[in-house]
Symmetry: C2
Subunit: 148 residues, 2 copies
């Protein structure tokens, strides 16, 4: 764990809480280059009616627009939950070098289910999870409990 | 193979050729519901500087916007090449029931490399490839040959 991991994961949690306020599944993501936040996103699937509007895709697009490049090879991404295969592959395609995530997603997470970063599909992604795992996970658990 | 598969794949090829005209990797996609085209897209990664702008994502978003729903459970998608993991999972998440593709992508295709639709990650997707494979594949080969 990097000394800044907790700081940036708390920023991703700020994004997740923005999703929660809109009654979206509370997931947030932050893209960081040279110790600066260059991309932010939170899940907006319900609001947009678009399956692609996951927090990670939005944060990556935000960074790509700001930096005017589709390649983010000096970037790290912080996500409050393990990415799904769509987002995990977008991270790889953007050449993001490091992924840090909070909660584990054993059912849909692309690392847990597909071991996606060890299949030689593209650029190398360094990844680790369970950063502020409890808070990231509880936010989701509370959301789904209230939905029932 | 459905009797309409060739017809819709030719429409996906029309999209791929639009990408080619812009010097993008020539890949196209079409979303069909009840024998009507409700979404179209071609690769726009270079033009947009956005890693998410693959033909399939654009075609799915086009259909979702037109139909005002993120769930396309009566839809089929036609793509000129086997989808990458990002697009393959977006197809699943949109509950698209059928995927038809042209060329095979042994290196990055999510079916060839990950067998993604047999991993119980979400809704069931019926899929088959090699529809007008030669034309779909040659378009890509010529593009990369001219790039060298």
């Amino acid at each position: 764990m990097n000394k800044n991991d907790e700081f940036y994961m708390r920023e991703a949690l700020v994004e997740a809480k923005k999703a929660l306020e809109k009654d979206e599944v509370p997931i947030g993501a932050i893209v960081v280059v040279d110790d600066k936040i260059v991309g932010r996103g939170h899940n907006e699937r319900e609001e947009s009616h678009l399956i692609s509007r996951h927090a990670e895709i939005i944060a990556i697009e935000d960074a790509e627009k700001r930096l005017n490049t589709k390649i983010l090879d000096n970037a790290s991404i912080y996500v409050t939950i393990e990415p799904c295969p769509m987002c995990a592959y977008a991270i790889m395609e953007a050449h993001i070098k490091k992924l840090v995530y909070g909660a584990i997603d054993e059912k849909r997470g692309a690392i847990s289910t597909l071991d996606i970063y060890n299949k030689k599909l593209g650029s190398k992604v360094l990844y680790y999870g369970k950063i502020i795992e409890g808070e990231c996970s509880n936010l989701l658990k509370e959301f789904f409990k209230n939905k029932r």
